[in-house]
Symmetry: none
Subunit: 216 residues, 4 copies
Amino acid sequence: MTIAQPLPSYLVQRYHGWKATAYQENKTWYRRLASEGQRPRAMVISCCDSRVHVTSIFGADQGEFFIHRNIANLVPPYEPDGDHHGTSAAVEYAVTVLKVAHLIVLGHSQCGGVQGCIDMCKGKAPELEAKESFVGRWMDILRPKFDSVADIEDATQQARSFEHQAVLASLDNLMTFPFVADAVADGSLTLHGLWTDIGEGGLEYYDPDAGRFIAV
Amino acid sequence: MTIAQPLPSYLVQRYHGWKATAYQENKTWYRRLASEGQRPRAMVISCCDSRVHVTSIFGADQGEFFIHRNIANLVPPYEPDGDHHGTSAAVEYAVTVLKVAHLIVLGHSQCGGVQGCIDMCKGKAPELEAKESFVGRWMDILRPKFDSVADIEDATQQARSFEHQAVLASLDNLMTFPFVADAVADGSLTLHGLWTDIGEGGLEYYDPDAGRFIAV
Amino acid sequence: MTIAQPLPSYLVQRYHGWKATAYQENKTWYRRLASEGQRPRAMVISCCDSRVHVTSIFGADQGEFFIHRNIANLVPPYEPDGDHHGTSAAVEYAVTVLKVAHLIVLGHSQCGGVQGCIDMCKGKAPELEAKESFVGRWMDILRPKFDSVADIEDATQQARSFEHQAVLASLDNLMTFPFVADAVADGSLTLHGLWTDIGEGGLEYYDPDAGRFIAV
Amino acid sequence: MTIAQPLPSYLVQRYHGWKATAYQENKTWYRRLASEGQRPRAMVISCCDSRVHVTSIFGADQGEFFIHRNIANLVPPYEPDGDHHGTSAAVEYAVTVLKVAHLIVLGHSQCGGVQGCIDMCKGKAPELEAKESFVGRWMDILRPKFDSVADIEDATQQARSFEHQAVLASLDNLMTFPFVADAVADGSLTLHGLWTDIGEGGLEYYDPDAGRFIAV
């Protein structure tokens, strides 16, 4: 039998608060979205981290953003081997079915996944090296980029640079998907790399000409 | 070279609106979250669908919810084969590192992924059967549950029931992860199955005693 | 023969500037809007005044706002007499065809139309009294509300109050349209009264409980 | 009592974004516009359609364009009968009070109003024939021009040609206003007919010598 508990009452209260306010305010729009289907303009790939303000930053929850969240906002390379690939499935659906106009990778400061990868690369996290470590095997996606930040001595600077690299790794891997590359080539899709500072509320975007992240 | 464009200006405007209001209002809290780390009370697994009100329903974006979003809010079974498993990595991180108290699977109405699985099971979506279809291979996770809804004639009812089954399949698969089963066994973690009606703003939870979903 | 001149070159330059930037940035979205049709969430009725920031305030020009602009943002009462009624046609199309969720009347400071109506009511604008004066006859819509501000001595205060009244007159007249009243009654449409201060960039909304305009 | 709701919160966020950026950037200019009054160089008559890029195309919202927007950018003929004529009032104010130098009629592709008129002319829209249909009675302004496009077999071509005719009908009707004809005659006002392709971002102007619309 499926194991489950009722919703904790602190969440029941919040739900009713939402129902009486935001839902009430947007009822007509939500009903139209339900009956007519979604038509999101952008897909956002961000981290699961509870501190990432992905929806509030852009005013989401209104049908405009198709949102995939995983550890460290990573996209694995194209690998059509018949296995379950959740991130690849989300990207495929957004680009080929929903035909979003923008694909945004949103990284962030103080990322635990990125820090774990640094620890692993420095030989300080043997538990993440185990074959059974899902987090370790997931962060393997970012591992090849460590060389580019290995020499940075300041730990905060190194983490920040590696968080930037995580965004770039995802953007680069996105281009290995034929349907992404095709949509970018024919001009129907643009890619965007962002990084947000959780504490300061800052937002930076990657500028390929400058070769670095620049404040919005 | 990494391919990327600057952030579209309509999103720059929204970011600045957030910065001047929600960020300003919560600045002190966000800074504490940045310096002291996240301590989310719950993990939510929901769909990427742009119409799912996951953050607004519970007032998220404030450090309380570790959120993983994928197509059809699915959790694959435990499979420690050394490959990249994004969903499994997110669950592992939430349960073993963050030690969340609640693990919530949130399904929803009008789910395109679930509908695609129905079409596939009825032999009406050959393109999803292809080995290269990431969406098809991802929805394979739900496929074994189709028998339980195959006889429902009304298409809307069948979709709704299968959306419910997607939540139950995820809950069942979660229990195949040793660290989840252990945390549930020692009482440090509870599992919750929810389903929300996008248009009506309704919320239902799975009640194992009743064997069905009940309105909150 | 139709009389017309080519576009002045200063506007040709601006067009090319837009084409190379904002259009380029939003090309995919604009193409989808063209092929799939508009689905605006709100209608805005504002003034023709060149200083009203209606589109930039809300980030319009992206398919979200159906915008009608006329002198003093007025809506005449329901009058299905078979004549040409541009404002009534726009409201009818927005509510019955596009089924917008919100109908927003946006008034503003320093409104020339409202000032003309004050002058007319004070007997200081005989030219506006002429049957041939389109502006005078249009401002007749607001005239019955003058009693409520006639006693205000300070000219600036009086103008501001009458600008507020123009918004309320439009909201009241909107409710005389059967299809507006029906949509409001069944909860599928909400009405909103706003007023913006051009110089200060302020924005106020009408609060029926308070019986006055309140800063956003 | 006047019926109204507060501004939906997604628009409050956008307003604050504008206030913190575009307003801040242009504050001094906006204050001058408020204290010294508007002095627009041109009037634009365009459609209410949410997809028409009227302000962004020319960089409006800065005091330069007096903008009237109605269904299908139509101008009715001169009819000083004492009734409420919103479009005529806007034209009168722009030409006689503001003394704009240019009067621009901007048509566009995929125009729902024009399509409705085609349906009506082909006997396929009985609901638009009703006396109570404001949209139908408004589109009567364009109806006499249908003969010129009736023989075009391709539906897209026919719609495009009729959209062009809507611009010409408005230009012709503008010349029936004595104050417009006078200003054109003494060289203080020029008329311009434009048509924009929503998806492609194209812009065409009417050339009377060529007798057709030509790309800018």
